[in-house]
C-alpha cells in the first residue's frame, strides 16, 4: 500500500496547455503539501493545506491552483503551462502542521515543450 501516491509519474505537454496532477494519502494525515524540485535540484514548498484549508501559498504564480476536495487528497492544476514550469513536483503529507516529518510521493516529472 503506497502511503502517498501521485499521478501521473511523467507528464509531457506543450506550452499553453492546462494539466493536473493528483495526490492521495492513506496515512490519515491532516496536512498535505506540494513541493517543487527545480533544475538546480532545490526542493521548495509551494502550497500547504491543513484539513482542506490553504495555509501556505509560497508566492506561486496564480496559474497554479491547488484543490483539496478532502483531507486525503490534494490536487495541483496548472493553467497556461510555460517552459519554466518543467520540474519534478512532489506531493507530501504530515500528521499535522506542527509535525515536521513529512512523507513524500514518488514525484511527477513535468516536461513542457
Amino acid at each position: 500500500d503506497t502511503a502517498v501516491s501521485q499521478t501521473p509519474k511523467y507528464l509531457v505537454t506543450q506550452m499553453g496547455n492546462d494539466k493536473s496532477i493528483k495526490c492521495e494519502q492513506n496515512l490519515g494525515h491532516d496536512t498535505m503539501y506540494w513541493y517543487k524540485q527545480d533544475s538546480k535540484k532545490f526542493l521548495k514548498i509551494m502550497f500547504s493545506y491543513n484539513n482542506k484549508e490553504l495555509i501556505i501559498n509560497e508566492t506561486v504564480p496564480n496559474r497554479f491552483s491547488p484543490k483539496s476536495p478532502d483531507k486525503a487528497h490534494l490536487n495541483l492544476h496548472i493553467n497556461s503551462l510555460e517552459l519554466g514550469d518543467s520540474a519534478v513536483y512532489f506531493c507530501a503529507s504530515s500528521q499535522s502542521t506542527g509535525w515536521t516529518e513529512a512523507f513524500f510521493g514518488q514525484g511527477t516529472r513535468l516536461t513542457v515543450v
Binding site: 496536512t31 532545490f42 501556505i56 516529518e101 514525484g107
Partner: protein
C-alpha cells in the same frame, strides 16, 4: 536565500567505510533538523532527525551530530553499504512559516562501491 547548505554535491565511499555528509545552516532560529534519503525516480524518505537540545542522535548505522555554535550538522553512516547510494538532503522547519514547511539543502549524492 539559501539557509540550509550542503556544499558537497557528491561523495564516493567504499563499502564498509564511514560516510560523512555535511550540512551548514545560517538561521540560528532553527531548532530541529531532518535528513532525507532519495533514490532516483522516488520521493524523499525520512531517515533521521535531531532536536537542537541534543548534539547527537543515533539510529542503527546512522548517526547525526549537531554543532550549534558552528551551525553545522553531519550525518555519519557506518558501515556504508551499496544500498546507501542515494541523494541525501538536510532539512529544517522554516522559522518564517512557523515550522509548517521544510527548507531543504541541495543534496549530496552518495555513491558506495563494493
Amino acid at each position: 536565500d539559501q539557509q540550509v547548505k550542503q556544499n558537497s554535491p557528491s561523495l564516493s565511499v567504499q563499502e564498509g567505510r564511514i560516510s560523512i555528509l555535511n550540512c551548514d545552516y545560517t538561521n540560528s532560529m532553527f531548532d530541529y533538523f531532518l535528513w532525507y534519503k532519495k533514490y532516483p525516480a522516488e520521493g524523499p524518505t525520512f531517515l533521521i532527525s535531531i532536536s537542537s537540545i541534543k548534539d547527537k542522535n543515533e539510529d542503527g548505522r546512522f548517526t547525526v551530530f549537531l554543532n550549534k555554535s558552528a551551525k553545522h550538522l553531519s550525518l555519519h553512516i557506518v558501515p556504508s553499504q551499496p544500498g546507501d547510494s542515494a541523494v541525501y538532503f538536510c532539512a529544517a522547519p522554516r522559522a518564517d512559516l512557523a515550522g509548517t514547511a521544510l527548507i531543504f539543502g541541495k543534496g549530496t549524492t552518495l555513491s558506495v562501491s563494493s
